[in-house]
């Protein structure tokens, strides 16, 4: 325990002198890095606009309220498209994530040396790129529309689902698998009766969790042209129809809240 001697009395200290010195330099370095970053941001900012911001924000607010409520009749189809993008994308992603997860989990992979790194690479690369970027890419390849959105959401979700699923597979209770193996089950029977029942709740939870995230992401995919309610948002923004924008934002907010509520309900029912 670090103590400080002063006038013959010992006073308790949280850290030794050396430790606090190191910490102090760490903080100094951190602050220096932050100040440097801030200077770069500040240098590429037009400060006149920033000082003008309260007036602009007020202006946008007065333009955007009240929302144009009758526009909601035109939003039915985009919302349906958004729901389809999220749901079908999640389904496709789950179908692809299951094999990837089994190949990536240490206890089920056929080859830890060759196949596992490939599966992990698929997981990392699909996870680290945002669905909007996948959508951009797919629009360049297969043209704009709902289909590009579905595929973009599907690719983005593979990594996420496969990562959570393979962690669940690695954490299974091994004794159950051994019990099934001891009955003389084949490799596939062990899979079906020893492993799958143990990860099924985790799988359902992951599916609903990702579906919730995908609803959020699919609402903005339209900004790059991949269908859904984002198309209406970007069209309204382009013509500066602020009352429509505020209505669409409210609808998106409602969709996000509802999907989060549904996913929380389903997950608490499963677990």
């Amino acid at each position: 325990m670090p103590v400080l001697e002063r006038d013959g009395a010992q006073i308790w200290r949280r850290r030794t002198g050396r430790e606090s010195l190191i910490r102090w330099f760490g903080w100094l370095l951190g602050v220096a890095v932050f100040v440097y970053c801030w200077q770069i941001i500040s240098a590429s900012t037009t400060w006149f606009f920033v000082w003008d911001a309260p007036r602009i924000a007020d202006d946008i607010w007065t333009r955007a309220t009240p929302p144009r409520w009758d526009y909601i009749t035109q939003l039915g189809r985009p919302i349906w498209d958004t729901l389809n993008i999220a749901t079908l994308g999640t389904l496709i992603a789950l179908c692809l994530a299951v094999p990837v997860a089994f190949l990536a989990a240490r206890n089920t992979t056929p080859s830890a040396l060759f196949i596992r790194p490939i599966a992990l690479l698929i997981i990392v690369s699909t996870r680290s790129i945002n669905s909007l970027i996948w959508a951009l890419l797919l629009i360049a390849i297969i043209g704009p529309g709902v289909f590009a959105g579905v595929i973009a959401i599907a690719i983005r979700s593979i990594g996420f689902c496969a990562k959570l699923l393979y962690e669940a597979i690695e954490e299974i209770d091994h004794t159950q698998v051994e019990a099934i193996t001891a009955t003389g089950a084949s490799r596939w029977q062990v899979m079906a009766y020893g492993i799958v029942p143990q990860i099924l709740p985790a799988f359902a939870g992951i599916a609903v969790f990702r579906w919730d995230i995908n609803i959020r992401e699919s609402t903005v995919l339209g900004l790059v042209g991949a269908g859904g309610i984002g198309l209406q948002l970007s069209a309204s923004l382009n013509v500066l129809a602020w009352p429509q924008v505020s209505l669409i934002l409210l609808v998106i907010l409602a969709a996000v809240v509802i999907s989060e509520w549904v996913s929380a309900k389903v997950r608490s029912a499963i677990i």
Binding site: I40, L88, L132, I133, L136, I142, G143, F147, I252
Partner: protein
């Protein structure tokens, strides 16, 4: 299983228990889901001719990953990437600094009710609005450039980190905190010696994770003019320069992987 049930089961062939116990609910869910799938497939318009045409371009893009072109647009890539990194660092610092007091306020066992309600409200708003939508609004208000991106990422960090930090504080061990309080500590000392040591490892882990997310998000903010690598990437796609786009994507994946590795090392050290 009691004796009565056992007598019923004896002598019958074992059947795999269903995932949803109630058969009526199971079939309703199944049929409803099937009906939804049919409806979804009927309403999605896929131009298969266009998709088929795009396959060549898709293949060209896959090939581009084998020969990414880092050199011909290197100055654009570098300035975009640097801006992304700067935005990530600055926004993470500010976001984490703000989310600590808000996280304290959003923990029911520390904060009085009015503070709790306000902080939970801030968290809910920040979580419900997506980064890209916040970025659109902030770009409209503050003008183009990394300042809007920086503010967006800071705002998103607050929602994420405060919520998880508050949950961690609510789940902490009361005994340690009470012991500090019993020694006559002031409020700040209580937080500093009773609460902080308990949640610090988790806070460091979550902060690292959030830095990782912030970098990934900063890659798309450029699409709406909020600075970062996204604008360069969008231009590359628009000009069908797949080799440059592949180079940018590889750089993003590389940085995300490095960040993930670093956060793994740091989390292992603090826990």
């Amino acid at each position: 299983m009691n004796h009565r049930e056992l007598d019923d089961v004896l002598g019958k062939r074992w059947r795999k228990p269903a995932f949803v116990q109630n058969p009526a609910l199971r079939w309703t869910l199944f049929l409803g889901f099937f009906a939804y799938l049919v409806a979804a497939f009927l309403t999605i318009e896929v131009d298969w001719g266009r998709v088929y045409d795009g396959l060549d371009r898709g293949w060209a893009f896959v090939l581009a990953f084998t020969s990414p072109d880092f050199t011909s647009r290197w100055s654009d890539i570098w300035s975009g990437l640097w801006e992304s990194i700067v935005m990530t660092v600055a926004a993470s610092v500010v976001g984490i600094a703000i989310s600590i007091p808000i996280g304290l306020g959003a923990a029911r066992n520390i904060a009085p009710l009015p503070v709790y309600v306000i902080c939970r409200g801030v968290v809910a708003i920040s979580r419900a609005l997506q980064e890209i939508i916040v970025a659109i609004l902030l770009v409209a208000i503050f003008g183009f450039g990394p300042l809007a991106g920086f503010l967006t990422l800071s705002f998103a960090t607050i929602g994420f980190l405060s919520k998880l930090l508050a949950e961690e504080i609510e789940a902490m061990d009361r005994v340690q905190a009470e012991a500090i309080k019993a020694s006559g500590a002031r409020w700040m000392q209580w937080i500093n010696y009773g609460v902080q040591p308990q949640v610090m490892p988790r806070l460091v882990g979550l902060s690292m994770y959030r830095i990782d997310i912030n970098f990934r998000e900063s890659a798309i903010l450029g699409l709406v003019g909020a600075g970062g690598i996204g604008a360069t990437l969008n231009t590359a796609f628009d000009r069908y320069e797949y080799d440059t786009a592949a180079a940018i994507l590889l750089l993003i994946i590389g940085i995300v992987m490095a960040l993930e590795y670093l956060s793994g090392v740091i989390r292992a050290r603090v826990q």
